[in-house]
Symmetry: C2
Subunit: 163 residues, 2 copies
Protein backbone atom coordinates (compact mmCIF):
# COMPACT_ATOMS: atom_id res chain seq x y z
CA UNK A 1 0.00 0.00 0.00
CA UNK A 2 1.28 3.41 -0.86
CA UNK A 3 -0.54 6.70 -0.73
CA UNK A 4 -2.39 8.04 2.26
CA UNK A 5 -0.58 6.04 4.85
CA UNK A 6 -0.28 9.03 7.15
CA UNK A 7 -3.09 10.26 9.38
CA UNK A 8 -2.56 13.63 7.74
CA UNK A 9 -2.74 16.58 10.08
CA UNK A 10 -1.79 14.45 13.04
CA UNK A 11 1.78 13.69 12.05
CA UNK A 12 2.85 15.71 9.08
CA UNK A 13 4.72 18.75 10.32
CA UNK A 14 4.50 21.28 7.51
CA UNK A 15 0.81 20.71 6.99
CA UNK A 16 -0.45 23.66 8.95
CA UNK A 17 1.48 25.96 6.67
CA UNK A 18 -0.99 25.26 3.89
CA UNK A 19 -3.48 28.07 3.96
CA UNK A 20 -6.88 27.80 2.37
CA UNK A 21 -7.59 31.51 2.41
CA UNK A 22 -11.24 32.42 2.38
CA UNK A 23 -12.01 28.73 2.20
CA UNK A 24 -11.04 28.45 5.85
CA UNK A 25 -14.08 30.54 6.68
CA UNK A 26 -16.40 28.12 4.97
CA UNK A 27 -18.10 26.57 7.96
CA UNK A 28 -19.52 23.87 5.72
CA UNK A 29 -16.09 22.71 4.61
CA UNK A 30 -14.64 22.99 8.09
CA UNK A 31 -17.57 21.05 9.50
CA UNK A 32 -16.88 18.28 7.05
CA UNK A 33 -13.13 18.17 7.66
CA UNK A 34 -13.70 18.16 11.41
CA UNK A 35 -16.22 15.36 11.13
CA UNK A 36 -13.89 13.25 9.01
CA UNK A 37 -11.03 13.86 11.44
CA UNK A 38 -13.18 12.93 14.42
CA UNK A 39 -14.45 9.75 12.78
CA UNK A 40 -10.97 8.78 11.64
CA UNK A 41 -9.77 9.06 15.22
CA UNK A 42 -12.80 7.30 16.58
CA UNK A 43 -12.47 4.32 14.26
CA UNK A 44 -8.76 4.08 14.95
CA UNK A 45 -9.57 3.75 18.65
CA UNK A 46 -12.62 1.56 18.21
CA UNK A 47 -11.00 -0.97 15.91
CA UNK A 48 -12.86 -3.97 14.58
CA UNK A 49 -16.21 -4.82 16.03
CA UNK A 50 -19.12 -7.13 15.41
CA UNK A 51 -21.58 -4.24 15.39
CA UNK A 52 -21.28 -1.18 13.20
CA UNK A 53 -21.43 2.28 14.69
CA UNK A 54 -24.48 3.16 12.62
CA UNK A 55 -26.24 0.03 13.85
CA UNK A 56 -25.27 0.65 17.42
CA UNK A 57 -26.46 4.23 17.19
CA UNK A 58 -29.86 3.07 15.98
CA UNK A 59 -29.99 0.50 18.75
CA UNK A 60 -29.23 3.15 21.36
CA UNK A 61 -31.81 5.51 19.90
CA UNK A 62 -34.44 2.76 19.95
CA UNK A 63 -33.61 1.97 23.55
CA UNK A 64 -34.04 5.65 24.42
CA UNK A 65 -37.36 5.77 22.58
CA UNK A 66 -39.08 2.41 22.87
CA UNK A 67 -42.04 2.33 20.53
CA UNK A 68 -40.64 4.93 18.17
CA UNK A 69 -41.75 4.78 14.56
CA UNK A 70 -39.09 3.61 12.17
CA UNK A 71 -39.50 6.54 9.80
CA UNK A 72 -39.28 9.11 12.56
CA UNK A 73 -36.06 7.57 13.75
CA UNK A 74 -34.70 7.63 10.22
CA UNK A 75 -35.50 11.32 9.91
CA UNK A 76 -33.88 12.19 13.23
CA UNK A 77 -30.70 10.32 12.42
CA UNK A 78 -30.70 11.52 8.81
CA UNK A 79 -30.88 8.04 7.39
CA UNK A 80 -32.99 7.38 4.31
CA UNK A 81 -36.06 5.23 4.90
CA UNK A 82 -34.96 2.72 2.31
CA UNK A 83 -31.63 2.29 4.04
CA UNK A 84 -33.19 2.22 7.48
CA UNK A 85 -35.24 -0.81 6.46
CA UNK A 86 -32.09 -2.83 5.84
CA UNK A 87 -30.37 -1.53 8.94
CA UNK A 88 -33.27 -2.35 11.24
CA UNK A 89 -33.63 -5.78 9.66
CA UNK A 90 -30.02 -6.51 10.50
CA UNK A 91 -30.63 -5.53 14.10
CA UNK A 92 -33.77 -7.66 14.16
CA UNK A 93 -31.97 -10.68 12.72
CA UNK A 94 -29.39 -10.38 15.47
CA UNK A 95 -32.16 -10.26 18.01
CA UNK A 96 -31.28 -6.80 19.23
CA UNK A 97 -34.41 -4.96 18.18
CA UNK A 98 -38.05 -6.03 17.91
CA UNK A 99 -40.39 -4.73 15.23
CA UNK A 100 -44.07 -4.34 15.95
CA UNK A 101 -47.01 -3.22 13.81
CA UNK A 102 -49.39 -1.22 15.99
CA UNK A 103 -53.15 -1.86 15.67
CA UNK A 104 -54.11 1.80 15.36
CA UNK A 105 -51.96 2.36 12.26
CA UNK A 106 -51.03 -0.83 10.53
CA UNK A 107 -48.94 0.94 7.91
CA UNK A 108 -46.33 1.77 10.46
CA UNK A 109 -43.64 -0.17 12.28
CA UNK A 110 -42.56 0.66 15.79
CA UNK A 111 -39.31 -0.45 17.34
CA UNK A 112 -38.20 -1.50 20.75
CA UNK A 113 -35.05 -3.03 22.15
CA UNK A 114 -34.96 -6.69 23.12
CA UNK A 115 -33.35 -7.87 26.33
CA UNK A 116 -30.38 -8.92 24.25
CA UNK A 117 -30.32 -5.44 22.73
CA UNK A 118 -30.22 -3.90 26.17
CA UNK A 119 -27.39 -6.23 27.09
CA UNK A 120 -25.45 -5.17 24.01
CA UNK A 121 -25.88 -1.54 25.01
CA UNK A 122 -24.67 -2.28 28.49
CA UNK A 123 -21.70 -4.05 27.01
CA UNK A 124 -20.64 -1.56 24.36
CA UNK A 125 -22.23 1.71 25.45
CA UNK A 126 -19.59 2.75 27.91
CA UNK A 127 -16.77 2.00 25.48
CA UNK A 128 -18.45 3.94 22.72
CA UNK A 129 -18.93 7.05 24.82
CA UNK A 130 -15.42 6.89 26.16
CA UNK A 131 -13.88 6.62 22.71
CA UNK A 132 -16.20 9.26 21.32
CA UNK A 133 -14.92 11.65 23.94
CA UNK A 134 -11.35 10.51 23.42
CA UNK A 135 -11.59 11.12 19.68
CA UNK A 136 -12.31 14.74 20.58
CA UNK A 137 -9.87 15.00 23.42
CA UNK A 138 -8.28 18.05 21.85
CA UNK A 139 -11.29 19.98 23.11
CA UNK A 140 -11.73 21.17 26.66
CA UNK A 141 -14.95 20.21 28.40
CA UNK A 142 -16.26 23.71 27.83
CA UNK A 143 -15.46 23.53 24.14
CA UNK A 144 -17.07 20.12 23.96
CA UNK A 145 -20.26 21.58 25.39
CA UNK A 146 -20.01 24.48 22.98
CA UNK A 147 -19.76 22.04 20.10
CA UNK A 148 -22.83 20.14 21.26
CA UNK A 149 -24.79 23.37 21.53
CA UNK A 150 -23.75 24.56 18.07
CA UNK A 151 -24.40 21.27 16.33
CA UNK A 152 -27.82 21.01 17.98
CA UNK A 153 -28.69 24.42 16.68
CA UNK A 154 -27.54 23.51 13.17
CA UNK A 155 -29.59 20.33 13.30
CA UNK A 156 -32.61 22.35 14.38
CA UNK A 157 -32.88 20.74 17.80
CA UNK A 158 -33.85 22.74 20.87
CA UNK A 159 -31.14 23.72 23.35
CA UNK A 160 -30.57 21.15 26.06
CA UNK A 161 -31.52 23.62 28.77
CA UNK A 162 -35.06 23.91 27.43
CA UNK A 163 -35.83 20.20 27.56
Amino acid sequence: MAGARKPAALEEPGLEQVGLGALEHSAGLMLRIAQLTAFERFFALFGESEIKISEFTVLMAVAENPGIRQGVLADVLKIKWSNMTKLVRTLEERGLVARHVPRHDRRSVVLSPTDEGRRQIEKSGEKMYRLDREALSMLTDAEHDQLIALTRKIAGWPPISER
Copy 2:
Protein backbone atom coordinates in the same frame (compact mmCIF):
# COMPACT_ATOMS: atom_id res chain seq x y z
CA MET B 1 -41.21 8.65 -4.90
CA ALA B 2 -42.28 7.87 -1.38
CA GLY B 3 -40.21 7.78 1.73
CA ALA B 4 -38.02 10.60 2.97
CA ARG B 5 -39.76 13.34 1.09
CA LYS B 6 -39.54 15.68 4.04
CA PRO B 7 -36.42 17.64 4.98
CA ALA B 8 -36.76 16.13 8.41
CA ALA B 9 -36.16 18.51 11.28
CA LEU B 10 -37.00 21.50 9.15
CA GLU B 11 -40.70 20.81 8.74
CA GLU B 12 -41.84 17.93 10.90
CA PRO B 13 -43.28 19.39 14.06
CA GLY B 14 -43.06 16.62 16.62
CA LEU B 15 -39.52 15.75 15.72
CA GLU B 16 -37.82 17.60 18.53
CA GLN B 17 -39.74 15.51 21.00
CA VAL B 18 -37.61 12.52 20.13
CA GLY B 19 -34.86 12.39 22.70
CA LEU B 20 -31.67 10.48 22.16
CA GLY B 21 -30.62 10.49 25.79
CA ALA B 22 -26.92 10.11 26.35
CA LEU B 23 -26.52 9.83 22.61
CA GLU B 24 -27.15 13.55 22.36
CA HIS B 25 -23.87 14.11 24.17
CA SER B 26 -21.96 12.18 21.56
CA ALA B 27 -20.15 14.99 19.82
CA GLY B 28 -19.21 12.61 17.03
CA LEU B 29 -22.82 11.82 16.21
CA MET B 30 -23.91 15.42 16.56
CA LEU B 31 -21.05 16.55 14.36
CA ARG B 32 -22.24 14.16 11.70
CA ILE B 33 -25.90 15.11 11.93
CA ALA B 34 -24.99 18.80 11.81
CA GLN B 35 -22.77 18.28 8.80
CA LEU B 36 -25.48 16.36 6.96
CA THR B 37 -28.02 19.06 7.78
CA ALA B 38 -25.71 21.83 6.62
CA PHE B 39 -24.88 20.07 3.36
CA GLU B 40 -28.52 19.25 2.74
CA ARG B 41 -29.38 22.91 3.07
CA PHE B 42 -26.40 23.99 1.03
CA PHE B 43 -27.23 21.70 -1.88
CA ALA B 44 -30.87 22.71 -1.79
CA LEU B 45 -29.76 26.32 -2.23
CA PHE B 46 -26.97 25.62 -4.69
CA GLY B 47 -29.02 23.47 -7.03
CA GLU B 48 -27.58 21.92 -10.15
CA SER B 49 -24.20 23.06 -11.34
CA GLU B 50 -21.59 22.16 -13.89
CA ILE B 51 -18.88 21.93 -11.23
CA LYS B 52 -19.09 19.81 -8.10
CA ILE B 53 -18.46 21.29 -4.70
CA SER B 54 -15.56 18.95 -4.09
CA GLU B 55 -14.00 19.98 -7.38
CA PHE B 56 -14.57 23.63 -6.73
CA THR B 57 -13.06 23.31 -3.27
CA VAL B 58 -9.92 21.78 -4.73
CA LEU B 59 -9.77 24.50 -7.35
CA MET B 60 -10.04 27.18 -4.68
CA ALA B 61 -7.39 25.51 -2.55
CA VAL B 62 -5.04 25.29 -5.52
CA ALA B 63 -5.60 28.96 -6.30
CA GLU B 64 -4.73 29.80 -2.70
CA ASN B 65 -1.62 27.66 -2.87
CA PRO B 66 -0.19 27.76 -6.37
CA GLY B 67 2.52 25.16 -6.69
CA ILE B 68 1.14 22.96 -3.93
CA ARG B 69 1.92 19.25 -4.11
CA GLN B 70 -1.07 17.12 -4.98
CA GLY B 71 -0.60 14.76 -2.06
CA VAL B 72 -0.31 17.55 0.47
CA LEU B 73 -3.53 19.02 -0.78
CA ALA B 74 -5.21 15.62 -0.54
CA ASP B 75 -4.11 15.27 3.08
CA VAL B 76 -5.32 18.73 4.02
CA LEU B 77 -8.73 18.21 2.47
CA LYS B 78 -8.95 14.62 3.72
CA ILE B 79 -9.23 13.15 0.27
CA LYS B 80 -7.45 9.87 -0.50
CA TRP B 81 -4.58 10.17 -2.95
CA SER B 82 -6.16 7.69 -5.31
CA ASN B 83 -9.34 9.72 -5.44
CA MET B 84 -7.48 12.99 -5.72
CA THR B 85 -5.86 11.76 -8.91
CA LYS B 86 -9.21 11.42 -10.61
CA LEU B 87 -10.51 14.69 -9.23
CA VAL B 88 -7.49 16.69 -10.36
CA ARG B 89 -7.59 15.05 -13.76
CA THR B 90 -11.17 16.23 -14.18
CA LEU B 91 -10.12 19.76 -13.34
CA GLU B 92 -7.21 19.50 -15.75
CA GLU B 93 -9.43 18.22 -18.55
CA ARG B 94 -11.70 21.19 -18.06
CA GLY B 95 -8.71 23.47 -18.25
CA LEU B 96 -9.14 24.80 -14.73
CA VAL B 97 -5.97 23.46 -13.17
CA ALA B 98 -2.49 22.84 -14.57
CA ARG B 99 -0.30 19.95 -13.44
CA HIS B 100 3.47 20.35 -13.45
CA VAL B 101 6.29 17.94 -12.58
CA PRO B 102 9.06 19.90 -10.86
CA ARG B 103 12.68 19.25 -11.88
CA HIS B 104 13.99 18.86 -8.33
CA ASP B 105 11.64 15.95 -7.54
CA ARG B 106 10.20 14.34 -10.59
CA ARG B 107 8.07 11.93 -8.58
CA SER B 108 5.79 14.71 -7.52
CA VAL B 109 3.11 16.77 -9.20
CA VAL B 110 2.44 20.37 -8.32
CA LEU B 111 -0.75 22.21 -9.14
CA SER B 112 -1.63 25.71 -10.13
CA PRO B 113 -4.78 27.38 -11.40
CA THR B 114 -5.12 28.33 -15.05
CA ASP B 115 -6.54 31.66 -16.11
CA GLU B 116 -9.78 29.85 -16.85
CA GLY B 117 -9.65 28.39 -13.35
CA ARG B 118 -9.30 31.83 -11.86
CA ARG B 119 -12.23 33.00 -13.94
CA GLN B 120 -14.33 30.11 -12.67
CA ILE B 121 -13.47 31.11 -9.10
CA GLU B 122 -14.41 34.68 -9.78
CA LYS B 123 -17.66 33.48 -11.25
CA SER B 124 -18.73 30.94 -8.61
CA GLY B 125 -16.77 31.91 -5.54
CA GLU B 126 -19.06 34.61 -4.28
CA LYS B 127 -22.15 32.44 -4.74
CA MET B 128 -20.56 29.56 -2.92
CA TYR B 129 -19.59 31.61 0.11
CA ARG B 130 -22.95 33.28 0.25
CA LEU B 131 -24.83 29.99 0.17
CA ASP B 132 -22.42 28.39 2.60
CA ARG B 133 -23.22 31.14 5.07
CA GLU B 134 -26.92 30.93 4.26
CA ALA B 135 -26.97 27.19 4.89
CA LEU B 136 -25.83 28.03 8.43
CA SER B 137 -27.98 31.10 8.87
CA MET B 138 -29.42 29.69 12.08
CA LEU B 139 -26.14 30.68 13.72
CA THR B 140 -25.26 34.18 14.80
CA ASP B 141 -22.00 35.63 13.53
CA ALA B 142 -20.44 34.95 16.91
CA GLU B 143 -21.59 31.34 16.84
CA HIS B 144 -20.31 30.98 13.30
CA ASP B 145 -16.87 32.13 14.43
CA GLN B 146 -17.09 29.76 17.39
CA LEU B 147 -17.82 26.91 15.02
CA ILE B 148 -14.85 27.77 12.81
CA ALA B 149 -12.59 27.88 15.86
CA LEU B 150 -13.82 24.54 17.19
CA THR B 151 -13.63 22.73 13.87
CA ARG B 152 -10.13 24.06 13.26
CA LYS B 153 -9.06 22.69 16.61
CA ILE B 154 -10.60 19.31 15.85
CA ALA B 155 -8.84 19.23 12.49
CA GLY B 156 -5.57 20.02 14.22
CA TRP B 157 -5.15 23.38 12.55
CA PRO B 158 -3.70 26.39 14.42
CA PRO B 159 -6.08 29.10 15.62
CA ILE B 160 -6.64 31.85 13.07
CA SER B 161 -5.26 34.48 15.43
CA GLU B 162 -1.85 32.81 15.41
CA ARG B 163 -1.43 32.87 11.67
